[in-house]
């Protein structure tokens, strides 16, 4: 075999691998998208629960559902982006937060958030959690007692918070959110749904596109 011929064979094979990979990925994703879109129509009750924290006007026709973990770095990085999306489409988009505490210790932080919510300080506490991530997340493990020390200046009644966060209702909500996430096959955070449509290919541009297409559809 001539050297040239070998070159051709190897280059051709390498290119074929890349092309095959791309084709297989497209086919697989298309199939998954259509499967997911069909199955989600039957699962809409898992998407939103009455108890979930919410932001934005209730009458807004576009709803973003975000499954999040306070200890998740990507959730923290996405938070300002989601807020900006809501600002850019003022009055048309609202946001529902669902809990998916995947990091160990993170569920306790979620109960702190829920207890803070009883004092109308949910969003402030969440922002604080995101802002001071380094102060309470050690080696991908949430340290609730360290987070506790970051709560100053938020106007929280910490004594009450301590009692409230033990409430069985909060534990039940977390369990329900985890169960819903499982049902909806959300395995990573943040997991986004816009008007029930999952964000399949993760990314800020993709989320923006999905939100904008829903806004366009609902506010022609």
């Amino acid at each position: 075999m001539k050297k040239n011929k070998k070159n051709t064979i190897v280059v051709f094979t390498g290119v074929m691998f890349v092309i095959l990979f791309a084709i297989a990925a497209t086919v697989y994703n298309d199939k998954k998208n259509s499967d997911i879109n069909n199955s989600f129509l039957e699962k809409s009750e898992h998407l939103q629960r009455d108890y979930s924290p919410r932001k934005g006007p209730r009458h807004a026709k576009v709803t973003i559902v975000e499954f999040f973990d306070p200890a998740c770095g990507t959730c923290s990085a996405f938070h300002p982006f989601v807020k900006q999306l809501m600002k850019d489409n003022r009055g048309k988009v609202n946001l529902v937060m669902r809990y998916l505490p995947l990091h160990s210790g993170s569920d306790v932080v979620v109960s702190i958030l829920e207890a803070a919510r009883l004092q109308n300080r949910f969003w402030q506490t969440l922002e604080r959690a995101y802002k001071r991530r380094d102060a309470w997340i050690v080696n991908h493990t949430a340290k609730p007692e360290m987070f506790w020390r970051q709560l100053g200046g938020l106007g929280l009644d910490l004594e009450r918070l301590k009692i409230d966060m033990q409430s069985p209702d909060i534990a039940k909500r977390i369990q329900q959110d985890l169960a819903d996430a499982k049902e909806l096959q959300v395995r990573k955070t943040p997991g986004f749904f816009v008007n029930g449509k999952p964000l399949i290919n993760f990314g800020d541009k993709q989320l923006k596109k999905l939100v904008e297409s829903e806004v366009k559809e609902n506010y022609p």
Binding site: M1, T13, Y28
Partner: protein
């Protein structure tokens, strides 16, 4: 040995290494497909098997131009170690090694079977298959090619 037989031997050797490269490439793209497209998170043992197959895709490619007769020296060890991890993983799958002995921490279990092609082909089986074929091809390469050199 005549010039002609030597040339055929080199050609045969080249084809063997080319086949090895094909398998390593299939394993590389296949595993990336499963983790990046299908979203199956690789567990610790999967990572070890990846560590030993990914460089093979590059080493075999380099060894083909022009055919490096000593390719076996630096690829066979990688293939054998990778094979060991694959067999270990398979034994974990079938339950021969108890789960408590497995090295995977966190929530990602190495014993949890999350893909079965045609109902019974698991990822470790594919891995054992790839490593085994590479090892066999390399041994054939050594027998058929290097001995003829003498």
């Amino acid at each position: 040995m005549t010039q002609e037989t030597k040339k055929t031997a080199t050609q045969r050797g080249w084809i063997l290494i080319f086949l090895c490269w094909l398998i390593a490439m299939a394993a590389l793209f296949g595993s990336l497909f499963m983790s990046e497209v299908m979203g199956l998170k690789p567990c610790l043992l999967c990572w070890y098997q990846r560590i030993f197959i990914y460089p093979l895709a590059i080493l075999f490619l380099v060894a083909m131009f022009s055919l490096d007769r000593s390719v076996i020296r630096y690829t066979l060890p990688l293939a054998i170690i990778g094979w060991g991890f694959a067999v270990y993983h398979h034994l974990l799958y079938v339950g021969f090694i108890p789960e408590s002995l497995q090295p995977c921490g966190e929530d990602l279990s190495c014993a949890e079977i999350n893909l079965e092609l045609m109902g019974f082909i698991t990822i470790p089986m594919l891995s054992i298959f790839s490593y085994s074929v590479i090892i066999i091809l390399l041994l054939v390469f050594r027998r058929g090619f290097i001995h003829e050199e003498k």
